[in-house]
């Protein structure tokens, strides 16, 4: 069991690159997630490997000095290389375009370029110690067009490619942060904010860029600040402070993640979870800001979701001649000091030449989080949760790990809450599409059905029908579980599918609990439907009252009048059928033959006489003549009537 407790792992298909040495420099571009291995300034080759690229991009460039920064534009069309503090060089990698380098010096006098970021396929931002400069690259002309600039003292910067936001650190203590947002040629300044520094007698330390990260969590941009010493002296551990950075409006401190320890930390964000690695103990913890925490009204305090665990051990596969059979793979040193983490989920070991994506493993968490309600809250927010959630549901109903009904109810409610949200989104989408009639369709987006949407058919197929078929649970429990699920669906006003009712009925019938079934139907807990009414009809032989229940249901449906007539005729209740048809006003159009057939089968002369007379009178009323028309195919019955009751019993044409 112990080994199954690792809930974080490195993906098994890492990006391999040539390890960093004094002749080989390694660079990582967060925007394209590419690793650049630059040998001898590029003269002996540049190898670029991205996450999806099977074949690395490799090329050579002239060695014009030490490369400080190297990045492709989005789409790998233009390469930008910074070799000096003054300028950035460009190389087009477009067919038919000149591959001659061109260069752009920074505009601001005496400024030093700290770095640059591509914000699109052709737009680039230079960050200097005195501000930012925004350019458009005109590749065919091999020149850059200046777009905009901002002057500000910059200590260091950070770029979040997912949200195209550059964060600049300014002020003496680096604690004032100024974000900028870039979008198709425009640069917008977002609200500036200040990170509170610990109030202490000692001179406060500057804020290092190592303690700041930017990431998108649940669709929102956050700045994560690793505070090594909590403000309150009572809790000596470090903490991560989350600042929410809205597109508009001011930045707010919203969450504090308690680490309860001190030392060297690194941050990642995986599947909307904040992962904090701790080098000293070689373990990591995860935080979910959507889970309930302690709140003081503005800031929510979170504890780790789970106890700290190491990342799952990773073996370096052997390749080449060393890979002799029988030789064990070498375990990789985790939490090594040569590790560098990048947002959101990248870990790079430059010394070994590996780039991994950090992944979360849900299955081990199922056993670690014993509070099922919290477990569901956690799982429902994860990307690949469906199979795990369904397995949790199956498990909590199994004999070995059976949960109590209140727990089961809580789980069902959480699932259905999510299910309902999706149904509502789907509904308003349909309404929007219908009302707009194709106009401005771009505005309404079809809601995406995430894995957390566990609908009735999922539950039926993977959990409930399996569970009832196993029959390891007492029937009382089975019924209680099914009713609990139906209750939960009703609570969220989700129409219940009839196969769930069928499951309830099947279980009740198997255990001869007909009176229970009767009571459920009496209170309309099992909603009316034709399939259900038919199912009830089939139960009549084992439980006679099912007949009445079925007829009542058909009556309420009000679309099943034909079925009612058929049911009554099949029971030879011909008069009842006729009276019913008359009460709904359908007696002028019904087939006389059908009723006469049924009356004859009942072998009751009085009944046949009555039914025959009824139709004679109808003929008289509709056509002024009691005789049947040939189209009604009643000749056989007319003959029978004559035989039984004599010619004189036939209704005569009224001599009016």
């Amino acid at each position: 069991m112990e080994k199954e407790e690792y809930y974080l792992e490195l993906n098994d298909r890492p990006v391999l690159f040539e390890k960093a040495t004094n002749v080989n420099s390694v660079f990582f571009d967060e925007a394209n997630k590419q690793v650049f291995a630059v040998r001898s300034g590029g003269a002996t080759g540049v190898v670029v490997k991205g996450p999806e690229d099977r074949i690395p991009i490799s090329f050579r460039m002239e060695d014009k000095g030490e490369v400080k920064c190297i990045k492709f534009s989005l789409g790998n069309k233009i390469l930008a290389v910074q070799r000096t503090a003054k300028s950035v060089d460009f190389i087009n990698l477009i067919q038919d375009y000149s591959q001659l380098e061109y260069s752009q010096e920074c505009k601001t006098k005496n400024a030093k370029i700290l770095g640059f970021c591509w914000t699109s396929a052709t737009e680039i931002v230079f960050i200097t110690d005195q501000g930012i400069e925004f350019y458009q690259v005109l590749a065919e002309k091999r020149t850059l067009k200046f777009l905009k600039s901002q002057s500000i003292n910059v200590n260091w910067y950070m770029y979040c490619p997912e949200s195209s936001v550059i964060l600049l650190s300014t002020a003496n203590l680096c604690n004032v942060l100024q974000p900028f947002h870039f979008r198709s040629g425009t640069l917008s300044k977002m609200a500036k904010f200040e990170i509170e520094l610990p109030v202490s007698s000692i001179k406060p330390a500057k804020i290092s860029e190592r303690d700041i990260a930017m990431a998108t969590i649940y669709g929102q941009l956050y700045v994560l600040f690793l505070r090594h010493h909590a403000k309150a002296s009572s809790s000596p551990g470090a903490e991560v402070v989350l600042y929410h950075l809205p597109r508009e409006g001011s930045c707010k401190k919203t969450h504090i993640l308690k680490l309860n320890r001190t030392g060297k930390f690194a941050l990642n964000v995986v599947d909307n979870l904040v992962v904090v690695h701790h080098q000293d103990t070689e373990t990591s913890v995860i935080f979910d800001i959507r889970l309930r925490g302690e709140s003081d009204g503005t800031v929510v305090l979170h504890q780790p979701v789970l106890p700290a665990r190491s990342i799952h051990p990773y073996n370096i596969p052997l390749t080449g001649p060393a890979a002799v059979a029988g030789q064990l793979p070498i375990p990789c040193k985790l939490y090594s000091s040569s590790w560098i983490v990048f947002q959101p989920d990248i870990i790079i070991s430059a010394s070994e030449g590996y780039l991994w994506y950090l992944r979360i493993k849900l299955q081990p968490i199922v056993h670690m989080l014993t509070d099922k309600g919290r477990l569901m809250d956690f799982l429902l927010q994860r990307k690949d949760c469906k199979a795990v959630i369904l397995s949790v549901c199956s498990q909590m109903l199994s004999e070995k790990d059976r949960a109590s009904l209140p727990v089961i109810a809580t789980v069902f409610d959480k699932l259905n809450c999510e299910y309902k949200k999706y149904l509502e989104a789907e509904h308003s989408y349909t309404v929007a599409v219908e009302t707009s009639q194709g106009r401005s369709n771009a505005l309404v987006k079809r809601p995406v059905r995430g894995q957390a949407v566990i609908d009735q058919s999922d539950m039926y197929t993977h959990v409930l029908s399996v569970f009832t078929d196993l029959k390891e649970a007492p029937h009382k429990f089975i019924i209680a579980v099914l009713m609990e699920y139906i209750r939960s669906l009703n609570q969220f006003q989700i129409p219940v599918q009839h196969y769930l009712y069928e499951l309830v009925i099947k279980t009740l019938v198997q255990h001869n609990l007909f009176y229970m079934l009767h009571q459920f139907l009496q209170y309309h807990v099992l909603s009316d439907s034709k399939p259900l009414a038919c199912l009830l009809l089939s139960l009549e032989s084992v439980y006679p009252p099912a007949h009445q229940l079925s007829l009542d249901m058909l009556k309420r449906l009000s679309t099943a009048n034909d079925e009612i007539v058929e049911v009554l005729l099949s029971k030879h209740q011909v008069l009842a059928a006729l009276r019913f048809v008359r009460s709904i006003g359908g007696h002028d159009s019904i087939s006389a033959r059908k009723f006469l057939d049924a009356a004859k089968q009942a072998s009751d002369d009085m009944l046949f006489y009555t039914v025959f007379r009824f139709f004679e009178q109808r003929n008289q009323r509709l056509r002024g003549n009691p005789n049947f028309t040939p189209g009604e195919h009643c000749e056989e019955h007319v003959t029978f009537f004559r035989q039984q009751f004599g010619e004189q019993a036939m209704l005569k044409i009224s001599s009016a």
């Binding site: 109590s404 009382k476 019924i479 609990e484 009496q522 209170y523 807990v525 009252p545 009445q548 009842a576």
Partner: protein, 471 residues
């Protein structure tokens, strides 16, 4: 002083009630042994033996005409005698005095016996109910014989019927005794499901509980017991147990609100059977025992009735289990708070539904509805039951017509409709559709038959539109 003709009416009353088994005293001189119970007890022994002998003779005689269905009742000028053989060889006899009108004629008192007033079906049902009630609390006669012989059986019969017969009120028996139905509490689906959920959870945490029944306002919402057992238990709860508690509550005594206990929510729950005060060291933790499923599994159960506000729950637990004070306290702390919340939910939801459907207004029609399939019964004729009597709002004459129509319905299987105009000019309509019966009393003296028929159609369309009820 007026010299008007003075008439005095005496309703029907119980003359005697006895139980015997002919096999127990087959030899001459031992006839007394046949008698297992006799009320009134103070009549002479020979008289008892004579009456039992007469019954035996009648049964024996009528058996020659129908071996499987011997006499059920015997009509005489003064009395009506009812026969019932609930278990083989065991006969229960109930003799009811016919109603009497005392008239003054020429200065003399003349008694006029009204021989045709009593309805066989009504009193036969009352007699059958006597047995079922006995069986509910004592089990079958045969079981008592097996356990402790005649002595035990006699002892049980004496203990039970001595009290039970006092609660029989012959003058108030009517059609509802024939139906012996169950009034169901109207409830929306969601609240019903909440109750289901509550019951399932309680049964899970108190796994001793074998069956549960849930009532609100003396109306049934859920029964875990089978229909026939619930029918008689319902009768006991609504006519005997619950009424006993209404009066003290109305008088403001025995305030049910409970002091807040540490770690315990304030709630209104309390036991209607068993201990009155859980913290009383002297309190007895004994509950009535009931017998259910006597045909098959023959189960003996403790009956715990627990109430919070208008919601009552019956918990039934195997009688072999010793119920401890700890268990009762656990039940109280678990059920009390939940039931209190649930009861107020039901009340709230019920009021909302009533407002929506507009059914708070007095119904215009006086009717009795009964469904044989689920025993559902609804009456706007009967006022709320009190401990001793059930009051009706119509004349006995009309009630008798209802009973007559019902007897007619019993004779045939077909759906039927009967319309009667009473002497007092009321119209009375009886309808039978499949397993349902409906009786309506219309106070429209000048209506004709067609108008009455239309009225009934209207009533069916408004009150019974959600069931398949032919018109």
């Amino acid at each position: 002083m007026a010299f008007a003709v003075q008439e005095k009416h005496y309703g029907p009353s119980l003359l005697s009630f006895f139980i015997y088994n002919p096999k127990f005293g087959q030899r001459e001189g031992e006839e007394e042994n046949k008698i297992l119970f006799y009320h009134p007890n103070d009549i002479e022994k020979n008289e008892k033996i004579k009456n039992v002998g007469l019954c035996e003779a009648i049964v024996q005689f009528t058996r020659t005409f129908n071996p499987t269905k011997p006499a059920q009742s015997l009509h005489t000028q003064k009395n009506r005698q009812f026969f019932h053989e609930p278990e083989e060889g065991f006969w229960m006899i109930m003799v009811v005095k016919n109603p009497v009108v005392e008239k003054q004629k020429d200065g003399k008192t003349v008694l006029e016996y009204q021989e045709d007033e009593l309805l066989d079906k009504v009193y036969s049902s009352v007699l059958q109910q006597c047995y079922k009630m006995y069986k509910l609390f004592n089990g079958t006669f045969n079981k008592a014989m097996e356990t402790g012989g005649v002595t035990l059986l006699k002892d049980r019969l004496e203990k039970f019927f001595h009290r039970y017969l006092q609660t029989l009120h012959m003058q108030f028996c009517d059609l509802l005794d024939v139906f012996s139905g169950i009034s169901f509490f109207p409830l929306d689906k969601m609240t019903y499901l909440k109750i289901q959920s509550f019951i399932n959870r309680i049964e899970e945490s108190l796994n001793l509980v074998k069956y549960t029944a849930f009532l609100y306002n003396d109306q049934l919402i859920w029964s875990g017991l089978e229909q026939e057992d619930m029918r008689i238990l319902y009768k006991y709860l609504t006519t005997s147990l619950f009424p006993r508690y209404i009066e003290p509550e109305l008088a403001g005594r025995d305030s049910p609100i409970r002091p807040e206990m540490p770690g315990n929510l304030q709630h209104y729950g309390r036991f209607l059977t068993g201990p009155l005060n859980l913290n009383d060291p002297e309190a007895k933790f004994r509950f009535p025992k009931i017998f259910v499923n006597t045909e098959e599994t023959y189960e003996e159960l403790h009956l715990i009735v627990y109430k919070a506000m208008s919601a009552s729950v019956c918990f039934m637990i195997d009688a072999s289990v010793q119920l401890t004070p700890d268990f009762c306290r656990k039940l109280d702390s678990l059920v009390g708070p939940q039931l209190t919340v649930l009861a107020s939910d039901i009340c709230e939801q019920y009021n909302i539904n009533r407002r929506i459907s507009g059914s708070e207004k007095e119904p215009q029609f006086k009717f009795i509805y009964f469904n044989h399939m689920n025993l559902a019964e609804k009456s706007t004729i009967h006022l709320k039951k009190t401990p001793s009597i059930s009051l009706t709002s119509v004349q006995p004459e009309l009630m008798k017509i209802l009973g007559d129509i019902n007897s007619d319905f019993t004779r045939v299987d077909e759906d039927e409709e009967i319309i009667v105009k009473a002497m007092s000019d009321y119209w009375i309509v009886g309808k039978k559709s499949d397993q349902r019966e409906l009786y309506v009393i219309l106070n429209q003296k000048n209506s004709n038959l067609i108008e009455v028929n239309d009225e009934i159609k209207k009533l069916c369309a408004t009150q019974f539109n959600n069931i398949f009820f032919l018109d």
